[in-house]
């Protein structure tokens, strides 16, 4: 922490100094705190998205059910998808990337700490803006240009007991046009959707720039790119995917907003617009997006498997290059989401072929993960179970994906539950299992304690069983003709029995998550203390105390090889087996002590409230756009612009760090003033662990 700052001349309000309490969190630029906030927010949305799914499942348990109205059903599947993708998986990956990236590469923070805070606050306000649609959004039945009501049940109504939430976005998470346009989805709900995603996209774009510069510029000495942990590599690859795919969806969302608000004719067939254009633009983003969703989890698994197999990752370079190849190829396959939309046979063949090629780098990764485990001394801890679950479940999802790449086969599968099965196997069986592996694995890093193992395994098995009960039947339900995105199915289709099984599975998943949540909160307070190295890990982030001090590394590390921490603890005997060095434990104790006692003052970026304020301006502008026809709507646009602009100017005038008061002398006498303070809780824990003496 820095010493107190003098009042800078360039700001009206005093620069914040706090790093505790609510104000501390609002003004923080520390990547770890930002990561934590992303994590809690994302998990809250996970619960909301899960509730949305459970409501859908209740509706689908019975044929011809009218528990939900059609309008509510459409809104719920739209928001379930939107929430899980944009408000859960992406931000939780961001949580991991934010918290870990600097630690993995030996840095004190990311390249642009305030920009990092900005990304988080933009996301935060964007999520609130998007969800405010449940309160403010309207969805009215569309009316044909000749004034006659289409008689369409879908928008906000129809028979059924549960119509609440029906006036929320209901055009699908993919917002196909013109269905989600002004003519067929009047009202404001889809505007909240489009503008909400616009805000969220901006947050990720800013983040991606930050991470790319961080990885390229801020690695510790000796940390060559091909010595970085795989998770750091996957973060980089994802950053490039975001960087190049988000501008495309930004344009598409602007176009749909303009169609809805300002009368442009991009997608309105009556005026000459082309609906297929939307599909191209959306999927040009949408396909890289799914790799954005899975690659961080693949990175996590690549970290967890070696630690709990007590073996290095099999074929590190191949895993890294495969990740990059998946991303690169991922830009070339988007129209495989459009096989039945009327594109030419040549296009279908080309995209089908391209899609098949992605199986190659994916397969390399899977074989390498298996190779990592093969012959290892497996420690079946909770994170390891989730990582192994990932490998198995993702493989199944990948295999169904391969069947989609065969075009005529896909024509049968499209818009059925077979597709729903596929993407849930890769996104839930894949990304979510990977995320839980990461949460259990890095919980000690975050809190200094270990999560309860028995509860963890209960969570795993309940989730594993529940997950397979939920999504496996969807494969054959789909092939038997159960249609996606449809509110009801007829009883004579014979789909009911397996739908009951699916719903039981869904509630089993919900139970498993409840176990996890209990475990998380219980372990935070009462979990066993972890010490520095609870998992006998391999990478740099485990060389600093748990939880890390604000400055991360007391002294910037110097890296000489991959998996350096492992090699600090282990030698190899003549047969190549790992032999623990006799002084390894002593070294770990010393690491913990040194980590809490840096030899000299450390200059950190000071907190700032400008990112918070600037981020707040965006939803104000967008609320104004939705209601721009009213005077107050226009006023809101102006207000939002002013808020953001003023914050931007303040930010530009504010230096990144504040000057420290005692800078010159390093006498022992003055050292007491300069000793870096650590948070009381950390200090107590360190004392408890006998690492720091209470002089």
């Amino acid at each position: 922490m820095t010493a107190t700052a003098e009042r800078p001349a360039t700001t009206i309000f005093r620069r914040p100094k706090a790093n505790t309490g609510l104000w501390g969190w609002i003004t923080t630029v520390d990547h770890k705190k930002i990561g934590i906030m992303y994590g809690y927010a994302a998990f809250s949305f996970f619960i909301l998205g899960g509730i949305e799914a459970l409501l859908l499942r209740i509706q689908l348990t019975q044929a011809n059910s009218e528990f939900l109205t059609a309008g509510a059903y459409n809104a719920l599947f739209t928001m379930h998808g939107t929430t899980m993708i944009f408000l859960f998986v992406m931000p939780v990956s961001s949580a991991f990337m934010n918290y870990l990236l600097p630690l993995l590469i030996g840095a004190r923070d990311v390249a642009f700490p305030r920009l990092n805070a900005l990304s988080w606050w933009i996301f935060f306000f964007g999520g609130i803006f998007l969800y405010s649609t449940f309160i403010f959004g309207t969805s009215v039945p569309p009316v044909a240009p000749d004034g006659v009501n289409f008689g369409n049940l879908a928008a906000g109504g129809g028979p059924g007991s549960f119509n609440f939430l029906a006036s929320s976005p209901d055009g699908g998470w993919f917002g196909y046009q013109p269905n989600a346009g002004p003519l067929y989805s009047p009202g404001t709900a889809m505007d909240y959707w489009a503008l909400g995603l616009q805000i969220l996209g901006l947050a990720s774009l800013v983040s991606s720039i930050n991470f790319i510069v961080t990885v390229f510029n801020m690695r510790a000495k000796g940390m060559r790119l091909l010595r970085m942990p795989v998770f750091a590599w996957m973060t980089t690859v994802v950053a490039f995917l975001l960087l190049f795919s988000l501008p495309i969806i930004a344009v598409a969302l602007f176009m749909v907003t303009f169609d809805r608000q300002f009368g442009t004719l991009f997608f309105a067939p009556v005026g000459g617009g082309d609906p297929i254009l939307w599909q191209h633009l959306f999927w040009l983003f949408g396909h890289p997006e799914v790799y954005i969703l899975i690659l961080p989890a693949m990175g996590i698994v690549s970290e967890v498997l070696p630690v709990f197999s007590r073996k290095p990752l099999f074929g590190y370079s191949a895993v890294v290059f495969a990740g990059a190849a998946i991303a690169f190829l991922g830009f070339g396959v988007w129209a495989h989401h459009m096989f039945s939309s009327g594109i030419t046979p040549v296009a279908q063949a080309a995209f089908g072929l391209a899609t098949m090629t992605i199986a190659i780098p994916t397969g390399i990764k899977i074989f390498n993960w298996m190779g990592t485990m093969w012959g290892g001394r497996l420690w079946l801890s909770t994170p390891m179970l989730f990582a192994m679950g990932f490998v198995a479940m993702f493989t199944i999802g990948g295999l169904s994906g391969v069947t989609h790449s065969v075009v005529p086969s896909d024509w049968q599968q499209t818009d059925t539950y077979y597709i729903v099965a596929h993407f849930h196997y890769v996104l839930f069986g894949g990304a979510v299992f990977g995320i839980f592996a990461g949460l259990y694995y890095w919980f000690p890093k975050l809190t200094g304690r270990v999560m309860n193992s028995r509860l963890g395994k209960t969570h795993f098995w309940l989730q594993f069983i529940g997950f397979n009960l939920t999504f496996a039947p969807m494969h054959w339900l789909g092939l038997q003709g159960m249609v996606r995105r449809t509110w009801k199915y007829a009883p004579e289709m014979g789909l009911e029995i397996w739908n009951v099984v699916v719903t039981i599975g869904a509630f089993t998943i919900a139970t498993s998550i409840a176990v996890f949540i209990y475990n998380w909160y219980h372990s935070r307070r009462h979990g066993e203390l972890s010490g520095l190295d609870p998992w006998d890990a391999r990478t740099l982030e485990w060389t600093i105390p748990n939880p890390p001090p604000e400055y991360n590394f007391a002294v910037a590390p110097e890296v000489t090889r991959l998996d350096q921490f492992w090699h600090m603890k282990y030698d190899e005997d003549e047969e190549g087996r790992a032999v623990r060095k006799p002084d390894a434990d002593e070294m770990i104790t010393k690491l913990e002590y040194d980590g809490l006692n840096p030899p000299s003052p450390i200059h950190l970026p000071a907190p700032s409230y400008f990112p918070f304020v600037m981020a707040m301006g965006l939803p104000i502008i967008f609320y104004g756009i939705i209601y721009h026809e009213a005077m107050w709507g226009k006023a809101m646009i102006a207000l939002g612009v002013i808020v953001s602009l003023v914050a931007l100017i303040g930010w530009a005038m504010e230096p990144l760090e504040e000057p420290m008061e005692h800078h010159e002398d390093h006498d022992d006498d003055e050292r007491e003033d300069e000793v870096v303070e650590i948070e009381t809780a950390d200090f107590l824990k360190a004392e408890e662990a006998g690492v720091v003496s209470d002089e």
Binding site: F216, F244, H280, L281, F331, A335, I343, A347
Partner: protein, 103 residues
Amino acid sequence: MSSEEHSHPTPGQYWKIAAFLAVVTAIEVAMFYIDRQLELGFLNAAVLLALSAIKFIVVVGWFMHVRYEKPLINRFFAGGFVLACALYLVVLTALGVVAIRGG
């Protein structure tokens, strides 16, 4: 003021580059009118695109300094450009705006 020590073009050279760019622009505009008279079809497009490519490269290379920068910068920038061209070319083909000759 940036901290890299490398050779910059001199102001005089910048003026010459600007003059060159102005001349190319004038040729482009001339081509527009020539094509209106002569209807050169594909040749018109080819010439105009080539001319703007030249302007593009000159501004990027000299004004944006890419010629004098570390190669990493060129790779990032070119990467984005190439990716955009490739993706959108495919989209335009799929939408029928660009037809593959002989196809």
